[in-house]
């Protein structure tokens, strides 16, 4: 079926843009489209089939005399089984294929560049690890996998780039993530796809996919800013975190050097991998992830620190290699 449809769409696309297809600009978009075409093919096939049969019967078996009744037919089991089993098989194939795609697209490559996103009514705040901040705009290099770590400051939003076929809700209180690898340079729509209040439809923006050199120039241009980790480091000393998390064994809090990505035991005996979410939780609700061997003395920073600052602190903690000492000591 696909074999029939795809050349047609490709032809249309070469004829100056296909009005029935959004731009396809990431490594996953073509595979999603392929599945979409198959599904469209199935839909068209069965719709045409049902419509033609109905029209044929309507004409062939129209009532000729007012008192005529239909001829009773008997129900062959084989027919019932056929139209139960064939749709089932189609569904199995669709499920396996779509799930395989979903699972594959669910995990960012380890080499991804990370960009942080905060949704708030009604705009997108983005920050690159190198420091530049953007509002409602996202600049990314072509050909590089990009992972977005996203959270919301208020209600549920949804980060949607149709050209990349990626979408994910952005929830308050937790981090969600998507990734994509742009394949074409250009400018693409960025939408909020989860209703978030009055100006939901204005929570839109643009994604600029640039060649690596242009991207480097863009990063270098503009105001000189500290990297996110540097900003985090400043917050770290501003909030006095280093007085307990001093990095040596005598500190009142555990050392944070090299802690990111490692499994750590919490007081409840659970073992949790230290990730963005856990660091966030440790800042806002310290006792819930309290580590054994330390006193429950860390106060909560909820209300004193915003989502952006938390992300900067996360970036700082991530930047700490195992051998480094805290606060330049």
């Amino acid at each position: 079926m696909m074999a029939f449809l795809q050349p047609g769409f490709e032809l249309l696309a070469t004829m100056g843009g296909n009005p029935f297809q959004p731009p396809s600009a990431s490594t996953i978009s073509s595979s999603v489209d392929q599945l979409y075409y198959l599904l469209s093919g199935i839909t068209i096939f069965f719709t045409v089939l049902i419509f033609s049969i109905i029209f044929y019967f309507m004409i062939k078996y129209r009532r000729k005399t007012p008192n005529e009744s239909g001829t009773e037919t008997h129900t062959p089991m084989s027919l019932e089984l056929t139209w139960t089993i064939i749709p089932s098989l189609i569904c199995v194939v669709l499920f396996v294929w779509s799930s395989a795609l979903y699972v594959r697209n669910g995990r960012p490559p380890a080499s991804s560049t990370e960009i942080f996103v905060i949704g708030k009514q009604w705009m997108w705040h983005l920050q690159h690890p190198e420091g530049p901040r953007e509002i409602n705009e996202l600049h990314v290099p072509v050909g590089v996998p990009v992972k977005l770590t996203m959270t919301s400051q208020d209600v549920i939003h949804d980060f949607y780039i149709p050209a990349f076929r990626v979408k994910k809700d952005v929830l308050p209180g937790r981090y969600s993530s998507i990734w994509f690898q742009p394949t074409e340079t250009g400018t693409f729509h960025l939408f909020c796809a989860q209703y978030c209040g009055t100006n939901h439809s204005e929570m839109v923006g643009w994604v600029y996919v640039m060649s690596p050199t242009d991207y480097a120039a863009w990063l270098a241009g503009g105001e000189k800013t500290e990297s996110m980790a540097q900003q985090g480091e400043r917050l770290f000393s501003q909030f006095g975190c280093g007085s307990c998390h001093s990095g040596d064994a005598a500190g009142r809090g555990p050392s944070l050097a090299g802690i990111y990505g490692k499994p750590e035991k919490t007081q409840n005996g659970e073992t949790k991998v230290v990730d963005e979410a856990l660091i966030r939780q440790a800042i806002l609700n310290p006792n819930s992830v309290h580590m054994p061997g330390y006193q429950e003395i860390m106060p909560t920073y909820a209300g004193q620190i915003d989502e952006e600052q938390i992300l900067q602190l996360v970036a700082y903690v991530k930047s700490l290699g195992a051998e480094e000492r805290i606060n330049g000591k």
């Binding site: 409840n268 609700n285 006792n287 819930s288 429950e296």
Partner: protein, 222 residues
């Protein structure tokens, strides 16, 4: 088809039915279906409770320790006793006892139900109010796991509150049953309102049988 349908109408017979048996079956099935909706009604709350309990277990244990087991246990006993008296009220109607006997059991049931609510109000909710354990109304709790404890107390009040509303409705029904019995509405042949109200009363008892361990006894008391 029954000859009764258009002939003499027995006590409590409704026109849309063919005979008393059909009416009795319909009433009983109707009540059971209603109780199923009640299971799902409380079920939504139980689902939310189950998930939050799993996610915030230490806080829920802490929250549970704010409750007083002896009142929960007493109330469980009170309700079970009231279920027994309700069953006996129906049995005395079934076996054609004097209406005085039926009324005695019904009033005893009513009193036990009222005692349950009394204990709940006086020794539990009122105390919670004084100690500032009612989220959104009066909240002073400052101990460990404060957010989770607040969540637990929310569920405690919603679940016991919904249960108490069902109890109050039950007391209303019992009052009506007492009046109907006093007016000779029931007999050994026709006691269906008693029977299906009994189903409701026992259901409310069952809800409490689950609420007691789920709310009062999380993580043990050792």
């Amino acid at each position: 088809m029954s000859e009764l349908a258009h002939g003499a109408h027995p006590q409590g017979f409704a026109h849309q039915f063919e005979d008393m048996d059909q009416q009795r079956d319909a009433g009983r099935l109707g009540m059971w279906v209603f109780l199923v909706t009640e299971i799902l009604f409380f079920g939504g709350m139980f689902t939310a409770y189950t998930i939050y309990r799993a996610l915030h277990l230490p806080a829920f244990v802490q929250g549970s320790h704010q409750l007083i087991v002896k009142f929960g246990a007493t109330n469980t006993a009170v309700l079970i006793f009231s279920s027994l008296t309700m069953a006996l009220a129906i049995r005395s109607a079934q076996t054609g006892r004097k209406k005085g006997t039926i009324i005695f059991w019904l009033i005893l049931t009513w009193l036990l139900g009222a005692a349950f609510i009394g204990i709940k109000l006086r020794f539990e909710w009122y105390r919670d109010y004084l100690e500032g354990l009612i989220p959104g109304v009066q909240w002073f709790y400052n101990g460990p796991h404060a957010p989770g404890v607040k969540m637990f107390m929310c569920f405690y009040f919603f679940m016991t509150g919904l249960h108490a509303i069902h109890m109050v409705v039950g007391l209303g029904i019992l009052t009506v049953l007492v009046i109907m019995t006093a007016r000779n509405k029931f007999s050994a042949e026709y006691y269906q309102p008693l029977e299906i109200s009994g189903l409701y009363w026992h259901f409310v008892d069952i809800v409490w049988i689950f609420l007691f361990p789920l709310l009062y006894l999380i993580g043990g008391r050792y």
